[in-house]
């Protein structure tokens, strides 16, 4: 939009930026990416595919984006845009009402179909992926919708639940879900607890991010440490404070 006059808020850069504040000391070796999609792709690379024998598509949590980009509202808007044009899928992961998982649609389709090889439910799942996913960006489906709008029969719905594409939410309504994601949720919660414990047990309940990433993790933490760090910073379970020696993570008591 071409403005004739500048906005008043442009005169005052709301975040008082001291010169070179981003190049603080030892930390911050990567510059801020402006694009949400490239951040998503970077976070996807942190996801451990080998751990699940390549059966799961790469999952990123929405609040991990908040740890990289400052403006949360902008991140939300961009994610919604990507969902509208069908490139991204959002799932309610179940352990937290605010934790949403993001998966690229193409990834999801390939993995689900690969998992359905040789199973009886394959045709129904294919039908679901082709009919429902492109047209509807909802996180959950009610029985009414499934029967009337998408014209699935009861037995087909049972097959979809059996294959893992739908999970029961209430009597008569289902969440969209990732098949075989139970292991992911289990390892994720375990790992998150362990990493938070590491921060909490440090002296004064705080640790430099660079130090934390160097530490050896227990067998509880199956994901790369960086994945968990983005998660706890984005979910505001720890406070991220810029210091002259890098970013400091301080445990937030709530």
């Amino acid at each position: 939009m071409n403005r004739k006059r500048a906005l008043i808020s442009d005169t005052f850069n709301l975040k008082k930026r001291r010169k070179g504040s981003e190049k603080f000391g030892a930390g911050n070796d990567k510059d801020e990416p402006k694009d949400i999609k490239s951040t998503l792709e970077y976070l996807m690379t942190l996801f451990p595919r080998k751990l699940f024998n390549d059966t799961l598509p790469q999952v990123v949590l929405k609040h991990q984006l908040y740890s990289i980009h400052n403006d949360k509202t902008l991140v939300d808007k961009e994610v919604n845009k990507l969902r509208e044009c069908g490139e991204l899928l959002m799932f309610q992961l179940g352990f937290d009402s605010e934790a949403f998982g993001l998966v690229f649609t193409s990834d999801y389709k390939t993995k689900v179909l690969a998992g359905e090889e040789g199973k009886g439910t394959r045709t129904t799942v294919e039908k679901f992926l082709e009919k429902v996913l492109p047209s509807c960006t909802d996180l959950s489906f009610s029985k009414d919708k499934m029967l009337k709008v998408f014209l699935f029969t009861d037995s087909e719905i049972t097959q979809l639940v059996k294959s893992g594409v739908l999970t029961v939410r209430e009597a008569g309504s289902w969440w969209l879900s990732i098949p075989n994601s139970g292991k992911f949720t289990k390892y994720f919660i375990q790992g998150r607890k362990a990493v938070l414990g590491m921060v909490r047990k440090s002296k004064y309940g705080e640790v430099l991010q660079a130090d934390l990433e160097e530490r050896r993790t227990t067998s509880q933490v199956k994901f790369p440490l960086r994945y968990h760090v983005h998660d706890i910073v984005g979910a505001e379970l720890v406070e991220s404070i810029p210091t002259t020696s890098g970013t400091l993570l301080r445990f937030v008591d709530s």
């Binding site: 808020s9 709301l14 975040k15 403006d71 009402s97 959950s140 009610s142 309504s173 505001e236 709530s254």
Partner: protein
């Protein structure tokens, strides 16, 4: 700033634009000024403060010990160092003082001759400021969490009262009657607020996670309930429920033009709603720590571009930009939890009160005087005034 001045002078810009720019600059430089102080009268935490709308000179505060104090905020002493003195108090020795903690105080919106206070002793008292005696006492069956008088009402003089009871009572100041009741909530009503734009629109927040918007002229229920998912039932954890927050809703504040409504809840979230349609604008403020079991009093600035929200967050006050949701700064200074804050619209100052029984004044500090200028100032009183900056 000089750019704005020349543009205004030559007529390129509207005069309002420069006023907005200067207000925004002042709000961005709010700090705890060592020269400004508020008299410490309360022995216990301060639950609520209110600045009168007419002149912005007098401030009321209600404390956890039932004491109500009136302060004079104007500085007529000519010196930089100024303590806002308490003009009068309704102390523990008064016969009419509230028995338990005062939860809400509000000046009568049209003059300072009257103010209304409500407390956990299940009463709401309408006081005469001159004699400091209650002109009217309304009795209720449960603790009164919040009350509000409409700041623009000409056709009615109703006070909306939120108590332990899920029904909202409307008390009429002219006749003393309280027959008008609004039904619709299922749990205690923690906060009530009239719209500053339409005198018949009332918003109420309750512990059952719902926020209802009412038109008091309408005989049947509320106009609408705020829904955080904007009708997208798919995101909610259950199909049927229409909630504004995932926990108790304990703070309500309209922006000064009445177009938007802010709500805070114990799910640590703050949401901005379009007050005409009830739509969630989905501005993401992040985690706004909220552990209050009673109502939370927070404030929105006026006349700045963009506007700011001041929310008490633990023992500091968080300042967020209204429409983008970014955290501008945290104002730290209190020793204990902050319970209430109020923005002085004309001077762009923020007053906050908390459990440490202090009211702190956050004043825009734009330029600090140099040591040499101060010495020069003492010698010549003349045209330099009191800022001591001869340039």
């Amino acid at each position: 700033m000089l750019g704005f001045l020349t543009a205004r002078q030559s007529g390129l810009d509207d005069p309002l634009r420069m006023r907005r720019a200067e207000s925004t600059r002042r709000v961005l430089s709010l700090t705890l000024d060592p020269d400004r102080d508020v008299d410490r009268i309360h022995g216990n935490g301060i639950n609520t403060i209110d600045i009168e709308a007419v002149e912005g000179r007098y401030m009321l505060s209600g404390g956890a010990d039932g004491v109500i104090v009136i302060y004079d905020l104007e500085n007529y002493s000519g010196k930089l160092q100024y303590t806002c003195k308490a003009v009068c108090t309704v102390g523990r020795s008064s016969r009419h003082v509230h028995k338990f903690s005062v939860e809400t105080v509000q000046w009568y919106p049209f003059d300072t001759g009257m103010f209304v206070s409500s407390s956990f002793d299940k009463t709401m008292k309408v006081w005469d400021t001159e004699t400091l005696k209650p002109a009217e006492v309304f009795q209720f069956e449960g603790n009164v969490y919040s009350h509000h008088l409409s700041p623009i009402a000409r056709k009615h003089s109703l006070v909306a009262v939120g108590t332990n009871n899920p029904k909202i009572q409307l008390c009429d100041l002219k006749s003393g009657s309280r027959i008008h009741v609004l039904q619709g909530h299922r749990a205690e009503v923690l906060s009530v607020r009239w719209s500053p734009r339409y005198e018949h629109i009332l918003a109420t927040a309750s512990a059952d996670s719902k926020v209802n918007v009412w038109d008091v002229r309408r005989a049947s229920g509320s106009l609408f309930t705020l829904d955080q998912h904007n009708g997208e039932k798919s995101k909610a954890s259950a199909e049927a429920v229409n909630t504004a927050h995932n926990g108790r809703v304990n703070g309500l504040c309209f922006t000064s033009d009445g177009l938007y409504l802010l709500t805070t809840g114990t799910d640590d979230r703050m949401r901005l709603w379009n007050s005409a349609s009830g739509e969630n604008t989905l501005v993401n403020y992040g985690k706004v720590c909220n552990e209050s079991r009673k109502k939370l009093q927070f404030a929105v600035s006026r006349g700045c571009s963009p506007d700011f929200v001041f929310v008490p967050c633990g023992s500091s006050v968080a300042v967020y930009a209204l429409h983008t949701g970014e955290l501008v700064t945290m104002l730290r200074g209190h020793y204990n939890n902050v319970d209430c804050c109020e923005f002085h619209q004309d001077h762009q100052e923020l007053y906050s009160g908390g459990k440490d029984s202090n009211i702190l004044a956050w004043v825009p500090v734009l330029r600090t005087a140099d040591v040499e200028d101060e010495l020069g100032c003492e010698a010549s009183v003349g045209p330099h005034g009191h800022t001591g900056h001869p340039s």
